[in-house]
Symmetry: C2
Subunit: 159 residues, 2 copies
DNA sequence: GCACATATACTCGGATACATGATGTCCGAGTAGTCGTGG
DNA sequence: CCACGACTACTCGGACATCATGTATCCGAGTATATGTGC
């Protein structure tokens, strides 16, 4: 899995702690973890295309969450970065085997494909059940000063 | 996910239908689906290192299942090909953030890492619950002539 | 006819190229704020 | 003093390199079979 997923998840979480209505530039978001700003910007574009964050150009511009954290699931972020295709994509090699029919959709027929898809659906269901709000609540319970620290860092970090 | 996983799964299934004690060469296994033989051979080496198949060189040599199909899970095959690392590997970017401790194992502390791992464990559990024998039984129920067809193809295919 | 040594053909195994996609970088289009100027 | 216009600095967005990994290929080491030969 792409490393951008980890960056995107942490960045969305940090954005949820930003001042309401405040946009945070990719440079500040990247400075948080010493990430390459231009590349993080690229990942943020994917999040923007997926409707997870909204972007505003110009001074005082940057990114902010486009929806409430309750409406952003881990699956949303993963799908935005990794793409909608499933990890195990059955190429339908049975079509090349004996008795292979060119017109059959082997993703539906192939038992192996079904089994792999079942596992992948379980994974997706688990991710879809976790919202950004839930993650945030857990972090705040364990580390109560995190929201203040984050806002502070956004305000004071040198670019 | 690597395409070799699909090849390995189908190939193991086909091997389970081979004559008992018979070894099938990589060339014959690849001809089944018109796959590049040398590359499939490479994947089979990974399965052999994982103890899923055993290999014998020389004429009448090839691969055969090293264990009973009941003892081979989908997770075994996937792990043999893809490696044991989890898909979402938390690089511990929190360590670079404010208050990051160099010695902390952030895979245990980071809430995001925990959530992603929980989903991945669900995926692995699902895969570990499916054995090659189960897959084979389902296929035989739906397509009763598959075992005979497979043995026939192994015997008659031209290399 | 039988046993043995030899030659042969076939197999895996790892070392070696190639292609694709992830990773990283750069510059241009556009906007908000700022400064200067004129009324 | 106020309004307006130009300018500047800052931001995203996409186009352009670079690199790691998956994909594909080839040749050598080793073995079971077949063959030929001597007894």
């Amino acid at each position: 899995m792409s490393e951008g997923v980890e960056w995107a998840l942490h960045t969305c979480l940090n954005l949820s702690w930003a001042e309401p209505g405040e946009a945070v530039s990719a440079a500040r978001l990247a400075a948080f973890y010493r990430l390459p700003a231009a590349y993080l910007n690229k990942q943020m574009q994917a999040l923007a295309r997926a409707g997870i964050v909204s972007s505003t150009p110009g001074p005082r511009g940057g990114f902010r969450l486009a929806r409430a954290p309750e409406d952003i699931t881990l699956l949303d972020v993963v799908t935005a970065i990794e793409g909608p295709e499933e990890a195990f994509r059955c190429a339908g090699i049975l079509r090349e085997g004996p008795g292979g029919e060119p017109d059959v959709d082997y993703r539906e027929v192939c038992v192996i494909s079904q089994s792999m898809r079942k596992a992948e659906l379980s994974w997706r269901r688990e991710l879809a059940g976790q919202t950004l709000a839930g993650i945030r609540a857990t972090v705040e319970r364990r580390h109560p000063h995190t929201p203040g620290n984050t806002r502070n860092r956004f305000a004071n970090v040198k670019i």
